[in-house]
Amino acid sequence: MTVAAQTLPASEAEERSSGDRQVQVTGGGRRAVLTTPLTYALLAVIAIIYIFPFLIQIATSFKTDSDAANNPVSLVPANWTTATYETLFGGGLDFPLWAMNSIIVTVCVTIGRVLFCSMAGYALARLHFRGRGVVYAGIIAVMAVPGVVLLIPKFLVVNQLGIYDTYAGMIVPLLVDAAGVFIMKNFFESIPVSVEEAARIDGAGVFRTFWSVVLPMARPAVITLVILAFQGSWNELSHFVVSAQDPDLYTLTKGVATLAAGGQGQAQQFPLKLGAAALMTIPVALMFFAFQRKIMSTAEGAEKG
């Protein structure tokens, strides 16, 4: 609340001044809104707040335990050490194994979610079939179910299907995400129906229309979905806790959570934990940067066209 109260008037002031200037410029043109130094200053401050913690994270992973405790803000370790990374890769921790498991699970889940959520979202937004309202209400209801209520019964189902302690048990239950269906449905409803109608009247089947006309149009939403799905399955912890217990199936979240939990007689070891946390961020960050460019090019393409 306080953040909102402070930030919104600031945006207004900034927008108003840029607006005024625009009116003076007259003429319009593509480069419509000029941006004031105030905006940049504001953005820079927020950006520092968002980025600095991660710099601290990386710096601390090269510190010793006592250096981390005594100089928590410093970005330069007093005496550099790679002990964290030696422990992670050679100290009896299966860090590379956890990483591989996370990647396997995340890739499968992301592909599944994009396909199934956009199919279901499209059907709910555009296709007329008996029971559509019930299905939609069901999906909305399911979205509201607290995940924690499902922990044990979900485990019972996984166990009953014979996929407990397997990749299938870890992946299949995550393949569809009700929120993803919801997002896709909302998106399809917001784009004009005329193009696909034309395609369908041309005789294209429903699936073909979906695959070659609708899905390409839905690119911004699909990219959003990919990012959310990748991030969601990468972040998933509780499902992996109940669907497998074989140490060979530990994902990064589960492995690093074990590390974080420590236990009786273990020190906080922040450099080690922060190092592990930093490493587990790398793949998902790389994926994110790849898609970030696509988001930008999509946006610019739309502007030019």
Partner: protein, 362 residues
């Protein structure tokens, strides 16, 4: 449109409709709906986690588990549940409006066409969202330690920061304390709800919970910013420019041009935010385990500990269902509130409740 479709097309659409939704339905049915039914049974049974909940030795106990949580005056379970609701209530009240407003604000800022370094800023704001909750909790535990980075930064401006994750004091109590109100006024101390006195309900989030609130806003604002950006990109530049040439001010453009266009997304964000905030679990599980002094237990976490650690499966499931009911009721209310506003004449008020509250602070 429907009159145009021939019977054949309608038939094909039906098949396709079910085929398209089948994978989603089967998976959601198997791993969400079916478990919900099982949990529903457990919540009215005396199952203690021994063997199958459907074996003949498990009995039906009616509302017994619910009574233990809701109406056992002075009972430990009732007070724990009250405390969990109190904690989560303040969490939601602070997180949902803040993250929504902040993400919309960031989206509007970085969506400016002439902004240099747009990609950089988007990346910066979205980055915390890609980080796993496990990783970010570890980072926050470090940043908010008593002698940690946050308190060092505060000390530069002369503030002696609290030992965040070890401080159970309620923020509102602290503020009232500054004005000399240390003791509960009689009527607040004497009345209670769920075995928790009104005074305790009014404690506000504890200082430890405040750190988790900041964590939630920090990590979710980027995700929701992306949703808003996607919506803003659908908004053609001409509309904005037309508004500009009309001489509309920044605020007017935001309120009368941008806001109506992102309304569906706003609805999505508020719904997702509300649902997510009531389910806060990972941060507690990895970070605080409910402490200090139970000020970060939430219904979701309490449900987990009741079941998995204390073998009170019935009560754990009952807590989850009460939470479920809370979320459904609030979502329905929110939906209704947002619907209602659209029928009000545009000029008067069309801003959704939460943003209206923000707007009215000016």
């Amino acid at each position: 449109m429907s009159s145009r479709g021939s019977g054949n097309i309608r038939g094909r659409e039906s098949v396709a409709g079910w085929l398209f939704t089948a994978p989603a339905l089967i998976i959601l049915g198997l791993f969400l709906a079916l478990p919900v039914l099982m949990a529903a049974w457990v919540s009215v049974s005396d199952w203690r986690g021994q063997g199958s909940p459907f074996s003949s030795s498990v009995g039906f106990v009616g509302a017994e588990n619910y009574r233990g949580i809701l109406s056992e005056e002075g009972g430990l379970q009732t007070r724990d549940f009250g405390t969990a609701l109190r904690n989560n209530f303040w969490y939601v009240v602070l997180v949902v409006p803040t993250q929504t407003a902040l993400s919309l604000f960031l989206a509007v800022l970085v969506n400016k066409k002439a902004l240099r370094g747009r990609g950089f800023f988007r990346t910066a704001f979205y980055f915390p969202s890609v980080t796993s909750s496990v990783a970010i909790v570890i980072l926050f535990l470090f940043l908010f330690a008593g002698g940690g980075a946050v308190n060092r930064a505060l000390s530069w401006v002369g503030i002696n920061g609290p030992n965040w994750f070890a401080d159970p004091r309620g923020v509102l109590h602290v503020i009232l304390g500054v004005f000399g109100v240390d003791e509960a006024p009689g009527f607040l101390a004497d009345n209670s709800l769920l075995s928790l006195s009104w005074w305790d309900w009014l404690a506000g989030p504890s200082i430890a919970m405040s750190a988790l609130i900041l964590l939630a806003v920090f990590t979710t604002s980027g995700t929701f910013m992306l949703l808003f950006i996607a919506a803003l990109q659908n908004l053609s530049g001409e509309v904005q420019e037309a508004a500009l040439l009309d001489g509309a001010s920044g605020w007017q453009r935001f309120r009368y041009v941008t806001l109506p266009l992102v309304r569906p997304t706003l609805f999505t964000v508020l719904t997702l935010g509300l649902i997510g905030a009531w389910q806060v679990f990972d941060q507690i599980f990895v970070g605080t385990q409910g402490g200090p002094a139970k000020t970060t237990i939430t219904p979701a976490y309490l449900s987990y500990t009741s079941s998995f650690l204390n073998n009170r499966w019935g009560q754990g499931a009952a807590i989850a269902f009460i939470l479920f009911a809370i979320i459904v009721v609030l979502t329905v209310i929110q939906r209704w509130v947002l619907r209602e506003r659209t029928t009000v004449p545009k000029r008067k008020r069309f801003v959704p409740a939460d943003t209206a509250a923000v707007g009215s602070t000016r």
